[in-house]
Symmetry: C2
Subunit: 375 residues, 2 copies
Amino acid sequence: MNITVPKKLLSDQLSLLERIVPSRSANPLYTYLGLYAEEGALILFGTNGEVDLEVRLPAEAQSLPRVLVPAQPFFQLVRSLPGDLVALGLASEPGQGGQLELSSGRFRTRLSLAPAEGYPELLVPEGEDKGAFPLRTRMPSGELVKALTHVRYAASNEEYRAIFRGVQLEFSPQGFRAVASDGYRLALYDLPLPQGFQAKAVVPARSVDEMVRVLKGADGAEADLALGEGVLALALEGGSGVRMALRLMEGEFPDYQRVIPQEFALKVQVEGEALREAVRRVSVLSDRQNHRVDLLLEEGRILLSAEGDYGKGQEEVPAQVEGPGMAVAYNARYLLEALAPVGDRAHLGISGPTSPSLIWGDGEGYRAVVVPLRV
Amino acid sequence: MNITVPKKLLSDQLSLLERIVPSRSANPLYTYLGLYAEEGALILFGTNGEVDLEVRLPAEAQSLPRVLVPAQPFFQLVRSLPGDLVALGLASEPGQGGQLELSSGRFRTRLSLAPAEGYPELLVPEGEDKGAFPLRTRMPSGELVKALTHVRYAASNEEYRAIFRGVQLEFSPQGFRAVASDGYRLALYDLPLPQGFQAKAVVPARSVDEMVRVLKGADGAEADLALGEGVLALALEGGSGVRMALRLMEGEFPDYQRVIPQEFALKVQVEGEALREAVRRVSVLSDRQNHRVDLLLEEGRILLSAEGDYGKGQEEVPAQVEGPGMAVAYNARYLLEALAPVGDRAHLGISGPTSPSLIWGDGEGYRAVVVPLRV
């Protein structure tokens, strides 16, 4: 055996790859997990064609060439191994293809290897070579998580919405912005981190989810981002540990600035959770097609109501309302999702049933646009 | 409002009904929840056509006639109500059908009622009237749960397996037995509780799951069982609180006694969890069609091995083996499920690859029969 690695470490790091590597794929090679070793490190890698991921962990290791093992049994086995250590090495039997021998405690297995030819080259940048990745920046992983998770919900899940199925990342000297929209509502989050270059990149929303998962595991480390042709690379703490490459969507968002309202007939301040709870309750009665909930905004309160096949419901929420009384209706799901990232205090800017409304929180970079339903 | 009930109490009790009442059904009336009140009590009831359930909770109540409310919104609403109390009452508006008014805190709703005609009569027995339920018995709910949960897994999930999709309950002066089989394996559990009558009743496995859930909520109370024509009724603590009626399957199990082996060429004792873990690991490598895992039984050990497309695996488990060395193979899933209810110590009685094997634990009423795969 040429590699020994603590079971828990291996098992923990595999959980990142387990989410990426598909159990079934039109390209069967994607269902394999790659691994190789060099002095002192075991490197595991996988891809689903959209996201490449590489994880490096310290191990008692001599060198092992790149091999491909069937990913699903490898994941299942490692999770359940009886020993504290896992030993890995190449085995070959006469008349057979290569095999990876894995043992732990009283358990031993030999996994059949796939030929490595045809496995895609991972797109992670190598060290300081700026050739394929000319645009580079670094930001705190926690801030990046905040920006991505605040806007993710607004991306479209519909196959045919093309570019709206992604989250647009905007790098500029003014700062960093994440923005998502499905054409009916929009969410953006600004980080006041001036960037050394101007660029836009649209990451598929599902890849954003994986990016967030990796960043959350970074435990506050700095995230290195590198933009190349059609790809965004992410590395944690200067390239060691986890490296990730995300294929970008082609194109960029149409100009959305003009739909963000700047002035409002009515400004509302309300306790965030109280409003969310009331919308949730009242919307149980809403029409099951359009999820319509009506808001009557008056001095000192919002009166919410909904009516559908089941009956009708209403609830009053105390609020600070500046401006003339007004009635406006929203799709309850859109309203709830826009309100979800807002903390204790929600601000609403409303100009009537035919103008987009703006929702934001106290002093955060988050803003959401929701278009009211026609009354 | 004529009824006031604590929200938490209502919400907790509804969770039982929530599992029974379907959100969609060929009979739309099943998607409604019934309720009525009499002095000091609110009674809720529902059915899915297989299981009837009635829950009675103390409430400040005057009388309320039987009404049917749409169940799904009622469940959703009650769970999320803002107040500590829920008030219920009948409301009717001119020119409309009946409505149930529900209010809690600042929230108010009116739910449209369905006409109660056509809603099935629940099959729960009324008081001491033995007419429709001549056979009655009582046993500790915890014991009954044990018997049912030990054997449930062996029932078939296949539509075409008819009677094998149920769990047979056997009442006799010798005791109470629960038994399940899908034709390939069998599990039974004997309770040494002599019964005053002789009868067999087959409860659909899915209804058994609901029965177990209700019994688990009984917190050690006695369970009253009553057998009627095609129905088993269950009440907790003398008829107050929860009452349940389960429609029985027609017929009874074919004679299964002859497949339970009484003598074995080989007797094995082994640590239960060690064997289960080893089977789980080795079976990762097993053939994905038949899940075959091979056991080589030798003095002092069981050597498990499996081989499939992914490669092969093996593990050794220390064991007390009495008898000649022997090789036998099982479907790993069947073996694991038969071993699951066995505690710290598993006993296996094996007579070779063409005879059924018996599995049991230390001094429990549980026995399982598994048929080996042909070597």
